[in-house]
Amino acid sequence: MALNRRNRKASRLGDAVFSRLSLVASLAIIFILVNILVILIMQAWPTLSEFGASFLWTSDWNTMTDEYGALPAIYGTVVSSLLAILIAVPVSFGAAVFLTEIAPLWLRSTASFIIEMLAAIPSIIIGMWGVFVLVPIVRDPIQKWLGNAFGWMPIFQGNQLGFGFLAAGIMLALMIIPIITSMSRDVLRAVPQSQREAMLALGATRWETISKAVLPFGRSGLVSAVILGLGRALGETMVVAMVIGNVYSIRFSLFSPGSTIPSKIAGEFGETLPGTLQMSSLLGLALILFAITLIVNIIARLLVWRMSAVKMGRL
């Protein structure tokens, strides 16, 4: 009896310690998040008070006249990320469908392993591969062919340099394909076999079973996979900085060089003095990126939440 009581006391002590520890850990996460936001706002304050909201839609970045605007970096970030999503989503979904529905069993685990290895390569290495291998390919044949065939469209006009939005988009796509693929593969694997059988038993072909039963069932998970990839693409720094050309201007052609928020910050941070308006503007850019990713994630949450509400029967 006595032994019993002591044991219970000890476990109660363990409970208390553990619950405090987990409380501290979760508070620490919230504290860090809030702290980042506060520091960003404080550091960006000179720029915000100097330019106000017009920081968002002006395009200067002039260290002589101390005039700064974020629009080219916002534009570059959005364009390169959307391009990446546009390329990566069909490839990733295709690969995920192949890995869960079509490939023979022995190939599934091997191929999945290789795809996940691709995600583990440090981005600086992928960036170097991009500069030496991908950029020349983008210049010729990709840009040459696009320029010849679709040169009447503004987005495929201009000098064929290789470096630019197109190369950045393709590189980003390569970087997010493994993430989107492995996450959507998990989503599709979790689709109950009974859903496939239900569609097959109605006389569906394999493709109809995939497109009408498997993909719709997993759609909220697939949306999360895409958003996760988009988040990665928005924040990716090194690879983009190496292939985008780092010109701070807005041009509509995908062939032209540009900048993204992370590439701009990474490129200038080291050579900017603390306390200057330039430094403050870089932090202003960071604040905008923070806001963009936050908004994207909130939209994703809402979408997923709505779709799972549908699944629970509340349409």
Binding site: R196, L202, L315
Partner: protein, 274 residues
């Protein structure tokens, strides 16, 4: 559609002596493992045939051979013949997809499509074969099938809601309506009531009697009383010494339950094992 009355006597023969489904030396394998051995049975049109037997005897495997669903599992294959109106569904060049539009299936657990409304669930199979379909026409067909599945009155105000918003019993009848919409000749039911409460079960059993006027029904059940209540013919299966399921006895339900010819059937029916 044949409208002749119920099966009369042993071996599932009806007065006309014709059969809609005939299996000849049907074997089902998982890889090299023989799961069902040498099944020979003939099923009369517009009859209800129950397949009973202890767990693991291959009932579900057998019924899944009837619409070529068995081969969907990895490494699964079938040998032998299964004649549907005299044509071997395992013949060379036969497309399993076309077999499944003529032999529908209802599964153990209700499996409506959660992202589709009640109406879209019913016409899901119909929409497969069409590039585009008129909404009005689809709604008419959906209403007819829901009425046929005795579900219309319960769901007519919820047609736009998700198929999974219904109760378990309603979901199963929705799955039956979905199978009916494709206008199959045979409907296979793999333990359709095992996930349902007694009242929902009773509704499905009543429904089966009505459906047998237009369709041929084969039902797998672990519930002997259910087989006795609903079926015209009964097949009793058991696992053999080699762990392969085999057909022990097949005949009119009355005969199987009152005067079984095989000792093993008698032991199972009287509750000695199983």
């Amino acid at each position: 559609m044949d409208t002749c009355p119920q099966t009369e006597n042993a071996q599932g023969q009806n007065p006309n002596g014709n059969h809609i489904l005939i299996t000849k030396n049907l074997n089902a394998y998982y890889g090299s493992f023989l799961a069902v051995r040498d099944v020979n049975m003939a099923i009369a049109p517009n009859s209800i045939t129950a397949i009973i037997g202890p767990s693991g005897c291959g009932k579900s495997t057998l019924i899944r051979c009837f619409n070529r669903m068995h081969e969907v599992a990895h490494g699964a294959r079938v040998t032998g013949q299964l004649l549907l109106d005299g044509e071997d569904i395992y013949g060379t060049g036969i497309d399993p997809v076309s077999v499944r539009t003529r032999i529908g299936m209802v599964f153990q657990k209700p499996n409506p499509f959660p992202t589709m409304s009640v109406i879209d669930n019913v016409v899901a199979g119909l929409k497969l074969s069409r590039i585009w379909s008129r909404r009005r026409k689809m709604e008419e067909i959906a209403e007819r099938c829901l009425r046929q599945a005795a579900l219309w009155d319960e769901v007519k105000d919820k047609l736009k809601q998700s198929g999974t918003s219904l109760s378990g019993g309603q979901q199963q009848r929705l799955c039956i309506a979905r199978a009916l919409a494709v206008k199959p000749e045979v409907i296979l039911m793999d333990e359709p009531c095992s996930a349902l409460d007694p009242i929902a079960t009773l509704k499905i059993e009543d429904l089966m009697h009505t459906l047998a006027k237009d369709f041929t029904i084969v039902i797998v059940t672990h519930n002997m009383q259910q087989a006795g209540r609903v079926s015209d013919a009964t097949a009793f299966m058991m696992m053999g010494d080699d762990r392969a399921g085999q057909l022990v006895e097949y005949g009119a339900t009355k005969q199987i339950f009152t005067n079984p010819k095989d000792k093993r059937t008698e032991d199972y029916i009287s509750g000695l094992f199983g």
